[in-house]
């Protein structure tokens, strides 16, 4: 009897980006221990080369492939179908698909990590952060984010999410001399582990109810269950879906799963806070969109209202608490919670028609949010002061950095000339209205007005008269200025040509 190969075919072109980053992570670790002490700076450049190099195969793949790799053999795939006479044909059982959605999030992750490495290049010595370990952990986490966006089964999704999170715990605690850094790392670790446990339990229930891990067959079975008569099994599946979404709620720090965020951001090195707020959060949203849009799509009428409530709570609490913050990083932390609420709005659609029609608003918001938030964190890192009062009169001593920060804050607020933020918010409003969620659009409008206060009061401080509390800051290192320049460039491009982000997906 001839036995066909049990080894899955691997399309190396599709998995090139995460492979390059993963191999680069190992190369960086080895390079650092062999480099002489005064040459350790080269590791930062090596990381930048790896991240830029990983974007190349993704550019070659654009606009993405619909067939994936790591697919189940056809003989085995038969086991996964619903049985003879099913109307939907053979569902896809590929674990990794580098389609348009995946490539967009991979670009966001690579670009975000590129900026983070640039931000931290000159401050490693000042903050006494071990260079090799820092870049190894960062690249490992990025590799996880790249896989997560392309994951098309629950197991790959979980492993990728853990690959994003585990190095991040260590990154947060890398300022080993700082008690706050260790506290932040411990809090982040405990909350994240608890959320992973909840998510794994949810996934195991989903698997138990559907007998599948690949998204397409899971969706077929959930559809059959939700219209079928097997009551207990249906409720088991609903419980599993809910718990899985709760796990991702922690990752994107949606209220009520947000409380780790401000402490973790404040304790972590600022570039790592930027990384968590952009790359890690984008990865969480990618997973959330993949689950609600594909695997759990038959249950949109159940998950939609749940996510609508989460979105309303997240933006309201995030913006209200941000009003009272006196610390720059903490304010940005609460602001990212508020922004996460806006991103959740298009996911709250109740039916698959409006979901697929409006999900591009979420994707566009994430792309634009990445540019403006990284920019704001980069300027905060260059000022190197925690109190908001330290920013009084900064426009006198650091006019360019102040102008950049003012622009990013106006983008986050959604006011001209920060047109990017305005377009992103209008797109989300359109999604809420198009999904007949008028109450959510109203809540969001109120929140945008509340957020104006703290963004504008920070901006106003920049142009006020300097006083005793003003930080005395010299010229930033060239790499940091380059990082601010890149984010500024992205912000300006998205402001004058928003279609590049809005039409990306």
């Amino acid at each position: 009897m001839a036995i066909s190969s049990l080894v899955q075919n691997v399309s190396y072109a599709q998995i090139a980006a995460p492979l390059i980053v993963a191999a680069g992570a190992v190369a960086v670790l080895v390079a650092e221990v062999f480099l002489p002490v005064r040459r350790k700076q080269l590791v930062s450049w090596l990381s930048l080369v790896v991240l830029a190099g990983a974007a190349a195969p993704d550019i070659a793949l654009w606009p993405g492939r619909t067939t994936g790799t790591f697919c189940m053999p056809q003989s085995a795939a038969g086991l996964y179908s619903l049985g003879a006479g099913e109307p939907h044909g053979m569902p896809s059982t590929c674990s990794y698909v580098a389609d348009r959605f995946a490539l967009i999030f991979q670009f966001v992750a690579l670009a975000g990590a590129f900026i983070v490495v640039l931000m931290s290049a000159a401050s490693m010595k000042r903050d006494r952060i071990p260079t090799g370990e820092y870049h190894f952990l960062l690249l490992s986490s990025v590799a996880g984010a790249l896989v997560l966006a392309a994951a098309r089964d629950l197991i790959t999704l979980t492993i990728a999410l853990e690959t994003v999170s585990l190095p991040a715990f260590a990154l947060v605690g890398l300022k080993r001399w700082s008690g706050r850094s260790s506290e932040a790392a411990l809090k982040f670790f405990l909350v994240s582990v608890a959320s992973t446990a909840v998510m794994l339990f949810g996934i195991s229930l989903v698997y138990g109810a559907t007998g599948n891990v690949h998204f397409a067959p899971v969706a077929l079975h959930l559809h059959a269950l939700s219209s079928g008569t097997n009551g207990p099994m249906r409720h088991l599946a609903y419980l599993g879906v809910g718990m899985t979404l709760v796990g991702f709620g922690f990752k994107v720090s949606a209220v009520p799963f947000h409380f780790w965020t401000p402490d973790t951001y404040a304790g972590a090195p600022v570039p790592i806070a930027a990384y968590l707020s952009v790359v890690s959060k984008a990865a969480g949203f990618a997973g959330l969109i993949l689950l609600t849009g594909t695997a759990f799509s038959p249950l949109l009428d159940k998950t939609g209202p749940l996510l609508a409530v989460l979105a309303a709570l997240t933006m309201s609490l995030g913006n209200l608490v941000a009003l009272r913050q006196q610390d720059a990083v903490r304010l940005l932390a609460w602001s990212t919670i508020g922004q996460a609420g806006y991103i959740l709005v298009p996911l709250a659609a109740h039916d698959s028609v409006s979901y697929t029609k409006h999900i591009n608003a979420s994707v566009a918001y994430i792309i634009m949010y990445a540019a403006m938030n990284l920019g704001a964190f980069a300027v905060v890192h260059s000022v190197h002061a925690t109190s908001l009062d330290a920013y009084r009169g900064l426009a006198k001593t650091r006019p360019l950095a102040s102008a950049a920060l003012a622009f990013f804050l106006l983008c986050l607020a959604g006011l001209p000339p920060g047109l990017m933020g305005l377009f992103a918010k209008v797109a989300v409003f359109g999604a809420a209205a198009g999904s007949h969620l008028v109450w959510l659009a109203v809540v969001m409008a109120v929140n945008v007005v509340i957020a104006l206060y703290y963004y504008l009061s920070w901006t106003a401080r920049l142009f006020a008269a300097p006083d005793a509390a003003t930080a005395s800051v010299g010229r930033s290192p060239a790499t940091l200025r380059f990082a601010i320049g890149l984010t500024m460039l992205a912000a300006v491009v998205f402001s004058v040509w928003p279609q590049s982000a809005l039409g990306a997906f």
Partner: protein
């Protein structure tokens, strides 16, 4: 092991008949075994307490260390250096576990050279970890 067999058989039954009753009723064997175990230990210790004479003296109340009088306290210092070694050992022991299932199938039909290469990629990552530990001076004694 005895409690395991019926449960496994019952999983097969459930798949065939779709009934949950037989599946959970086989757990009664586990429950009875648990009760028997508790009863056995309780009876043995209870009988010992009831039947044995009780005449303590300071020597008898000493901690028993193979008949030698105990010296010092129960707390002992361990060189912190062992911690790293214990860590390395645990990592490699856990990683080695992956070698066993691989060893049983890599020569089986359907698995080609790819499977062999995959394991060496995995071992390569372990070697990099060891190299890193060596260069950081973790493996040097003192």
């Amino acid at each position: 092991m005895t409690g395991h067999g019926p449960a496994v058989a019952a999983v097969g039954n459930t798949a065939a008949t779709g009934s949950n009753g037989t599946y959970f009723s086989t757990y009664s064997v586990v429950g009875i075994l648990l009760l028997l175990g508790v009863a056995f230990v309780a009876t043995a210790f209870g009988a010992n307490r009831l039947l044995s004479p009780h005449a303590p003296s300071p020597e008898k109340l000493l901690t028993y260390e193979c008949g030698v009088d105990p010296v010092g306290e129960g707390w002992a210092h361990t060189q912190v250096r062992y911690y790293v070694y214990a860590f390395l050992y645990a990592i490699f022991a856990v990683d080695a576990v992956y070698l066993f299932p691989w060893a049983t199938i890599f020569a089986a039909p359907g698995f080609k050279g790819t499977t062999l290469v995959e394991m060496f990629v995995f071992l390569g990552f372990l070697a990099v970890g060891l190299l890193y530990a060596y260069k950081k001076g973790v493996l040097a004694w003192l």
